[in-house]
């Protein structure tokens, strides 16, 4: 049954692929290669390696893990900074009053605009790319965490006061769990932003990574290569989001349950 239902949901995918194939074959436009050509190029670029390396080529092994590594490093760093700062801002009205204008200013800056600055500060390399990712994606996490920490139910806080919870118990057992749905919303948003910024930072100054490969393919007029890289980015984004949703569903099962019944 489940299989049939999944099939029912996915039927449009092959239809679109076949239509795309037919249209591009008819049009014979160099900018729009048929999907089969793109797939062949993708296979050649990444999956034609030796079997003992799971058929991955040197290019795949060099670029994909590098990019994903930067993405995760930036995301984790932004997660830690965003949650810590956000919870502090959410729980302290005084701090919030002083820092909030800075936060509003910071998040208004389009992150790519800071690329020249980060390039000068860190020069080309992972540091500069991670800095760009962190700066670009920390805001949704920070703002959501601070919102979540600010709006803890008053009765939950009074309950912790009455039962004498210490400050750290209150933080870890009441405030953080209560803010968790918001924190996860911020983390999810910033995960997709992280992919975007990863590509942008690699387009500007990099010697490897998926973004660099995209630029390389474009420079050598390898349009199937460009399309193939775009497909890989799309698949990567889809996978990241799916894995995140599974994790979220586990961590926030109480939230879904509590909201279904009340």
């Amino acid at each position: 049954m489940r299989f049939l239902r999944a099939l029912g949901r996915l039927w449009l995918v092959p239809v679109v692929l076949v239509a795309w194939e037919a249209a591009t074959r008819l049009a014979e436009d160099i900018f729009f290669p048929p999907p089969t050509t793109i797939a062949a190029r993708m296979h050649e670029m990444w999956f034609s390696g030796p079997a003992e390396r799971l058929w991955l080529t040197d290019a795949a092994l060099e670029n994909i893990p590098t990019s994903v590594g930067r993405l995760f490093a930036g995301w984790l760093l932004a997660g830690v900074i965003g949650v810590v700062l956000g919870v502090m801002l959410g729980r302290s009205a005084l701090l919030s009053r002083f820092i909030d204008p800075l936060v509003q200013f910071g998040r208004a800056i389009p992150p790519p605009a800071l690329l020249p600055f980060f390039l000068a500060l860190f020069s080309v390399g992972a540091q500069m790319q991670i800095a760009t990712i962190v700066f670009g994606i920390v805001w949704p996490i920070l703002l959501n965490s601070s919102d979540g920490a600010r709006h803890v139910d008053r009765q939950h806080l009074e309950t912790s006061t009455v039962f004498g919870l210490s400050r750290s118990q209150r933080l870890f057992w009441v405030i953080l769990p209560s803010a968790m749905p918001k924190i996860f919303a911020g983390l999810r948003l910033s995960l997709s932003l992280a992919l975007i910024l990863m590509v942008i930072s690699e387009l500007v100054g990099s010697v490897n990574g998926i973004g660099f490969q995209l630029l390389d393919a474009q420079r050598s007029y390898d349009l199937p290569g460009v399309w193939g890289t775009i497909v890989v980015l799309g698949v990567l984004g889809y996978l990241l989001n799916s894995v995140f949703l599974v994790a979220e569903r586990r961590v926030l099962s109480w939230h879904r349950g509590a909201n279904r019944t009340t």
Binding site: V162, F163, G164, L165, S178, G257, T262
Partner: protein
Amino acid sequence: MLEISNLTHVYGGGPGAHHALGGIDLKVAQGELVCIVGPSGCGKSTLLRSIAGLLRPTGGTVTLGGKPVERTPDDLAVVFQDYSRSLFPWMSVGDNVALPLRRKGMDRPRRREAATEALEQVGLAGAAGKYPWQLSGGMQQRVSIARALAYRPALMLMDEPFGSVDAQTREDLEDLTLRVRSHHDMTILLITHDIDESVYVGDRVVVLSKAPATVAGDLRVDLPGPRDQITTRENPAFVHLRAEVGRLVRGMRNDPAVSS
């Protein structure tokens, strides 16, 4: 054990200030179950919050066991009306009950044991692994009561604890309160707007006047125990007392001399 003298509280200031408490004097002895009734909006919750140390009254003093209440006292537990906002939905029922026991320096197995015992006392022996939102309203309020019991407070405050459950569950919970109370040597202060409930559950009923609240009447409930939902409620003494309390709540001061 609990002494309140000339307690006043004013919300806000200036001409728009709301005088919630207008000088309340009250003494509660060890082991007593005192019900506080009053018209809605009369400041019952303000009184409870002052005793719990959740609110700093503008005047007067509250002393618990000889010590003035400034912050929440160590040996005090509260059962709030809104169980769904008082229990933590991200923790299992057992963890909810066991969480406050960390402060008592109990290790994990002992905390769990105490939680299981308290849940057994409220008739929820098998529910420790469930989440609060998987239980009915009445069962959730039982969990709140179990949490307060496991904490072993000297004073238990109950703020309209049965206000959001149906009539049948309400009666069950009233009897549960009487039962656990005879088990533990606990002093209970129960706030309610239900006159019948106050007479049925209490050893004493303290009636508050409209805001700014003062003590309008203080009646001793001398009903034969153990109390029973049917026979106690048809006892002439019960009928008489509840009429008495009803008049006091409505502000008809006919005979406050009944107070003991």
